[in-house]
């Protein structure tokens, strides 16, 4: 129940914090004290897209929205959430677009099927070349 309350508060806090006039969220530009948790957070942040920038992750941007999202990620990691849970939550909120790490799904399967095809193609070409040579 408390966790839910925190989530609701956070959900309200995000749009509020997105206004430039408000002070930036504390964890936007500050690391977590525990290096292990911080490493977890950093790794996740590098795979989340900053929605208001062009092709930058939230770990690479000065944009206010990226700052707020960094704060979100760090706060949630600190609260004991796993990176993949946070990613799932964000994807739920903002859509697949926010995650740089595409999952196999009905819309993204070609991204994984085609490299496999390329791999097979490579094997085929090399085999043909090598056979023919003998």
């Amino acid at each position: 129940m408390r966790k839910l309350l925190v989530l609701i508060l956070l959900a309200i806090a995000v749009p509020l914090a997105a206004q430039d006039s408000l002070p930036p969220a504390p964890y936007a530009y500050q690391q977590l004290d525990d290096p292990a948790l911080e490493a977890k957070a950093t790794e996740l942040m590098h795979t989340l897209r900053c929605l208001t920038c062009q092709s930058q992750s939230i770990a690479d941007s000065d944009a206010p929205m990226a700052g707020d999202m960094r704060h979100q990620v760090r706060t949630r990691i600190l609260a004991g959430e796993e990176p993949e849970e946070i990613r799932a939550w964000l994807v739920d909120r903002y859509g697949d677009y926010i995650s740089y790490s595409p999952e196999v799904s009905s819309t993204t399967w070609p991204l994984f099927a085609i490299p496999v095809l390329i791999l097979l193609g490579v094997a085929f070409i090399l085999r043909g070349r090598l056979r023919g040579a003998k």
Partner: protein
Amino acid sequence: MIAEFGLVALWLAAALAGLQLLAGFLAARDGGSATAEGLALLVRPAAVVQALLCIASFLTLIYLFAVTDLSVKLVATSSHSDKPMIFKIAGAWGQHEGSMLLWVTVMAASGGLIALIERRLPERTMLATLAAQAFVGLGFYAFLLFSSNPFERLNPAPAEGAGLNPLLQDIGLAFHPPTLYFGYVGLSVAFSFVVGALLTRQVTPEFARVMRPWVLGAWIFLTIGITAGSYWAYYELGWGGWWFWDPVENASLMPWLAATALLHSASVLAARDALRAWTVMLGVVAFSMSMVGTFLVRSGILTSVHAFAVDPERGSFILALLTLYIGGALVLFALRANTVAEGERFSIMSREGALVINNVALSAILGIVLLGTLYPLLTEAFDVRVSVGPPYFNPVGAIFFLPMLAVLAVGPLLRWRKDSFARIKLPVAIVGAVFVAVLVLVLALADIGILPLLGLALSVAVAIASFQPMMGRSLRRLPLAVWGMVIAHFGVAVALFGMASDTAFQQERLVAANVGDVVEVGSWEARLDAVTPVSGPNWTAIEARMKLSYDGGAEREARPQARSFWSPPQETSEVALLTRWNGQLYVAIGNQAQDGRWQLRLWWKPFVTFIWYGGLLIALGGVLALIGRVATDVRRRVAAGKIAQRKAEEAS
């Protein structure tokens, strides 16, 4: 009046391109007849004069920017009289129209150059090549004149220009796009040679030798362009990243991958008359990739597919050109592929065998980068938005890249045509042992990801392997091209080492600091002495004055700034970089927090500089190889000239 002069020169150049196309094509088709002979005489001069006209037109544009002639629309919208002179001039190619004019100019200049000096190929092939060159050129002339006229006037002229994006007011960036364009244009010349060779059925080792310097040149420029672009992103964006798999970066990486493959397969064709069809195909692919790159960057499709749909004129134009050139080339290839015999055969244990693996792996990586770049655009068209980023490109690309590096370590040791493993057992064993030793050592000392781990071990192994082809050979007699290969391969190892090391071992500190506070990152201690406002010609900034020392050593100063430009308004981060032999400290200052403390961002990035040193070494290797090839050609020409002279003397 001056602007009109530039425009007229451009129209005349376009007309000459038309003449070059018609005359070249007809003369190549019915070679031998009297009319064809007459037409053939026109082709080379047309190319040369066209080059001069384009250069004149481009110089006109530079002049207009230098004097800030605001009655020209392009100058008014992208320049400003307060800008420093160097950026006024660089502004001439800092936007769409000017950069396309630069492209056309370089292309015409290359065409003029081959028309002037290239006489090794059969004349019919040359005529067809120059016709193809004019055909490609005409598309760009049309694009420039009908949809991106750089000399358009503005009436009435505004009192002041609208300025240039301050992010682009950077000396590195002023020369970054032209570098890539030179690369793209070099690939277009290679493409023209391919079309010429296909049309006249002359896919020969001589064709590969003639095309090779252009591919090499293009590849050098692309290498430098990508390296510089990466360094620019690194110090300008303010967060320490050096590669983002951004579509714009991919747009420059894809032609590079294709050019790298083409370079290696052209070497096989030149030396061994093998891989004919494959080389021709890569020539088409390499140029296609530079067109795809131009399309991605210039059409606005990257910001949003829908933005493209709103103003599709330019994008559609490039897309139409792309379809025309690539479609045409592929049809030609399909028609002529059966007449291009397979060429000499070889065993897998041979230099050619290793190069085939290199080619296939590079093509596979190219396929993946292309897929990852275009897929999100494709789904966006159907209103499904997905992102493809580092978590996709890194592992999927590595599947092909890492094995390719292993082959790179061995391939240069192999002989052409057929070799035995027994002969190269010892050097391969040494490299293998080094690889395993580094792997075990790193595994024991540090806890890092699998990709950086493999990267570190492979980079050390490849670094050693890259020098092995020199063993047992007289260094003084070693051809320059071999030196080039050794240095370029070594550069790959150096760059890879930098990437792996930075990824695995970088340390980050983000803090809010008061003046007087000391921040530690890695072995560095940084003290914030003061924060003061400063100003420049078109910006104001907040500057941090910091004293830093590495491992208790001598103090060094750093002054990172947060800049605000006012025309147009934009914030940028000027980071401070402290370079040591073993890495770089990266310092950026952010905003002031509520409580008056300053946000500081510090990264210690071990060996990160090796990434760009590696890139430069790769380019240097290319330059050496190019000098070696051209020098050989010049010597051959001089010798041939002497023989001809002696024969003439004997005859008289």
